[in-house]
């Protein structure tokens, strides 16, 4: 193998370049680890976890025939407990027809419009969150594994640039809080490392289930930065980078957060 080819391979397998401030893989912690014991107990016990109501709805929706094709998710995919196992752990995934990655919510809507011939579900709607929570639950405990091949790299890089660049009136970057200052208190609240391990999740502050995009808007709002419209490619890139940053960590969906 020529030296150039070898170098190229190394770069490909390393995904995006790790920066000096990256958290060492072994020191990564889920948001769960920063929570009070009562909140952890809520997530640990399915009968106390309010997000399980959405999972139950999702299970019903999985079976329901929709759209002019009159097909349910189950008609194509069968039992979600086997066919959807591990799926959420590898999203956002590359979509060849679109030549870009799509996240799980967008993937669900692609099936709705193209297979079921139904209208897409609105972002943050009860139905979309319920299906995403139900599908996500099938990957609980499995390690996050994002494809970081040549097709994905430009999107990963864009997500990393957004994570490390300063933005907003307060001139902060995501990395300043989540890489450099995790574990510190921001106005009394612990700053987590910002891993997307539990979405969609029940946030006590929201009093409802919400997507990762909704969570990202909360941080952007705090930074006094422009928030993108739901579904914007910028969010998908950022979600992709966050999932890559959390590679190997366990899926907790549907989690609970303060």
């Amino acid at each position: 193998m020529t030296r150039a080819a070898f170098l190229l391979l190394t770069v490909v397998s390393a995904g995006v370049a790790a920066s000096a401030a990256d958290i060492p893989l072994g020191e990564r912690k889920s948001g769960y680890d920063f929570m009070a014991p009562e909140t952890r107990a809520m997530q640990d016990d399915d009968t106390a976890n309010p997000a399980m109501l959405w999972v139950l709805d999702g299970e019903t929706l999985w079976q329901r025939r929709e759209g002019s094709a009159g097909k349910s998710c189950a008609d194509c995919h069968g039992d979600a407990r086997t066919s959807m196992k591990g799926v959420a752990a590898r999203y956002p995934a590359f979509n060849a027809a679109r030549a870009r990655p799509v996240d799980l919510g967008e993937r669900i809507n692609i099936c709705r419009t193209e297979q079921q011939r139904a209208t897409p579900l609105a972002f943050e709607s009860k139905e979309l969150l319920a299906l995403a929570a139900y599908i996500g639950q099938q990957s609980r405990g499995m390690p996050i594994e994002i494809a970081d091949d040549a097709r994905m790299r430009p999107f990963l890089q864009a997500g990393q640039d957004m994570f490390t660049g300063r933005q907003g009136q307060l001139n902060l970057s995501c990395a300043q809080c989540h890489d450099d200052n995790w574990g510190q208190k921001l106005a009394g609240a612990a700053i987590p490392q910002g891993h997307p391990t539990g979405y969609p999740l029940y946030r006590l502050e929201w009093q409802t289930l919400g997507s990762l995009q909704r969570r990202l808007r909360n941080c952007l709002f705090g930074m006094r930065a422009v928030s993108y419209p739901y579904g914007a490619p910028d969010y998908i890139n950022l979600e992709l980078y966050l999932m890559w940053r959390a590679r190997g960590m366990r899926v907790e969906t549907p989690a609970v957060r303060p």
Partner: protein, 147 residues
Amino acid sequence: MLAAAIASFADDATSQEQVRPYTVIGDAIPESLTGAKGDAERGRGIVVNRQVGLCLLCHSGPFPEEKFQGTLAPDLKGTGARWSEGQLRLRIVDASRLNPNTIMPPYYRTEGLTRVAPAYQGKPVLSAEQIEDVVAYLATLRDERAP
């Protein structure tokens, strides 16, 4: 009346003024941004307000009544003993002139920022008057010991 209420709400969210020129000498801005001395009591109100000063997101300080304070930055007690008013002014106006990697937001700068939310575009975080009030307040924090 409704229009007036909305206008005043917009007014106190951020200042409407442009950034005025100032002169940095060494690590300080010796001259008041407004030409007048600030009001320390108003300054305290700005520092503890989580929508206006935002200081306690990151800093702690001698505010026993404030339950939720930050640990990302030095405690504010004793800052008046450590720094002159001019030094405090520069640290609030634009701390990145002293430490390019600082996490402390530039409170009186509108240039060189990216993706600022529309409501805040072209506006500094605090007005010149508010900065003078904060400087006047910090200058009174002369006790380095715990409150």
